[in-house]
Amino acid sequence: MTKTDAILKTKGLTKRFDGVRAVDDLSISIAKGKVTSVIGPNGSGKTTLTNVLSGLAEIDGGCVVLHGTVTLKKIRPFDMPSYGMARTFQEVRLFEQMPVIDNVLVVLTERSVFGALFERHGAFHERQAEEALKKVGLWEKRGGLASGLSYGQRKLLEIARVLAVSAGRQMDIIIFDEPFAGLFPKMVKTVSSIIRELRDEGRTVILIEHNMDLIRELSDHVIVMDSGRFLAEGSPAEVLERRDVIEAYLGE
Amino acid sequence: MEILSQLILNGVMAGALYALMALGFNLIYGVTRFFNLAHGVLAAIGGYAFFTLSKMLGLNIYLSVATGVAIAGLAGYGFDRLVYSKLRKRKASNLVLLVASLGVFTTAQAALSIIFTSQFQTLSETAGQEALSVLGGVVTRTQVIIIFSSLASMLGLAALLNGTSFGKAVRAISDDEEVARMVGINTGRVTGYVFFIGSALAGLAGILVGFDTGIQPTMGMGLLLKGVIASIIGGVGNIYGGVLGAFLLGLVENLGIWMIPGEWKDAVSFLLLIVFLVFRPQGIIKR
């Protein structure tokens, strides 16, 4: 991988919680147009990394470099889309007391206050929402409240939300935080085909995952974290064979 | 210079009362995570319980104080059993609890007015109190009692929380109720006790206010707001922070009116709250 290929890099990225370094001096780079899995045992800082990248947790040290040109020391959550990033959440965060379709429509609208105030949804938006919901198989459920969905369906709705926003606005980097956890096999298939499709469209996917089979199957590149630090990287085949990685997983 | 030391003394005295309110409020907030607005009316309940026992039934003054405090505690415990515990069981949001406690507040305050009329009553028998000179200012015996009971309550509560298994349970629930339940703590019962203790402290505050100035069914709202502000600027859910916040509030309020007219006192306390929320939202001591 050459330097110009990196769409997202972190340099010495650090995040502390009450003195504990959840992300510790982390320098990694994510290749453009590939699926990169970030793996590591529980508490290794993967989710903190996604939160830092999406502005939900403040950066305590280091920086993030996007597209090789933009250097960020502070990320505000609502700036994410303008950097071409979208994400899902590990613990599902839907707009519970809103209809399923509104959960998708809401991310398609004007970002400015005045724009949104005078905007009504056109057929255009609804087509996008329909497309995204059909892709995850929730179109039939569009009228019901999000809180009425099953666990798996809720995860799918989150993914549909990300699909809709990335279809409309050219999102280059999409972060999936444990999208497969708790899904039925059929749903797993849907999600993995969505991830492949995204890559085939030329988008960069960052995947946080535990399931080794899925990691082998989907990822082009794997980064291993342990205790907030960088441990190893490489192709799935070589990384998953490494002794130190296995040890990290099993615990010392 | 005399004016300054007197204002500081006044601030400390006011702070001691706010601290009693903040202690109970914070204790309850710590385990339930909701703003219990009914906390104010419990001060009035305590005051009136004492008034009934001591002035109307002629009971011994110490016995009356103890019983009055216990009655306020029981009332708080009762509100928890009848209303809040049911809501918590249903996992209602804390805004629901807030609104429910507002309903409790309104009902209980109106009930007090029906039973005791809206008249203002003074509890103190001793008129013409000799004031003691302290540091260039003066304080009354009642005020000395107030500050000592306030300090005693703080120390007692601190000892209870740090030295007993009950205290451990309370702290466990404050940290994480789910986990506390999993390790076998009967969270419902502990919360009940916490309501009793917190409300008893409010009742004590009500009785002391009665001695210092007097009681009225509507006295609760003012005390509550001061207690809440003290808790927040001190660090909500942290009883030590609440005490610090209470004294800070008392001092700022009293020193504030040195420079500006006294009628702005309430505005000053809320301004202090807003300043804190903007610049230090976690309060003096983070929980």
Binding site: - | A110, S118, Q119, A127, G128, T218, N254, W258, G262
Partner: protein
Amino acid sequence: MKKTFKALFGVIALISLAAGCSKSGKEAGEANIIRIGSVGPLTSDLAYIGENMKAAVELASDEINSAGGIKGKKIEIIYEDGKCDPKEAANAANKLINIDKVTAIIGGLCSSETLAMAPLAEKSKVILLSAGSTNPGITNAGDYIFRNVPSDSFQGVYAAKYVRTKLNKQRVALLKCLSDWCLGVNDSFKAEFVRLGGEIVGEEAFPQDSRDLRGQLVKIKAANPELVYFVSYTEGTIVGLRQMRELGVKAPVFGADAWSDPKIWESVKGDGDGAMYLEPANKAYPEGFVDALSKKTGGKEINVYAPRAYDALKILASVMETAGTDTVLIKKGIYGVADYKGIADNYTFDANGDIKNADYSVREVRGGKAAGAK
């Protein structure tokens, strides 16, 4: 949207029906009753005053009825809560005027209540007689609007003259509660006192429901006045006098007529000694009145407005003895009232419906009891 309006009209129709029924029911069987409304704060911060006034009105109506009523008709008082809030008072007056068809309304206490009710009473030609609203704005509120409580200016001016010339005080501090009455009395005192060459060395106010005046008092003490002019209701006075003693404010205290409430002097005991205040000329309340009112309220409190509320109903009744229930005649009758000897004052109404003069005497507290000043 449609449903909403349907529901709205449905409920309104229901209430009209209920109101209509109760009205016709009342008119049919009760021709021998004269209805009079009474509005004052029965809840809210000032409820303790409102309750007291209500008891006084009750006492007056009991006395009138047991003496045979007015021209053989009994009077029935309907009490409504004005909450010291203009909107609530307007609600109450609307209900009294339109549903109960009252001839007159005694009230309100707060000027806000009276000012909100005045346009309604004026329009429906219902007598409005306030025993507690001292706001100067009421003077011109309408033909049917009366009050048997002096406008703020009288006693402030009287007190200022007394303090300046009789007591010969030069440097005075002011302490007042934040109500229309306190402000009115205070401001007229201040104007007159300054006109007479006196000096105001400090002025502090406190919210009407505040029970901790220590901050204000510390500042007053530091101003080192020769006298403190202290305008407040019973509660503020009790805590204020006590806290003055605690803080060592040595200057003598001069108060307003609200201090004729014996509860103050019983509560503060020795702390009140030396205090002076104004009382309407030589009017110590008759002993029987205090006892009878205490029986009604279950307490000893008599605030300054209760006797006036009692007088208000008595004045109304005496006018109705000749005028009947025709409000135009009653109105004329009240304008003609001259030197009526009530228990709180001697009343003569002027062309604006205010009482004409107010004569005061100064009382001084000694040994926990008020007596005429030397």
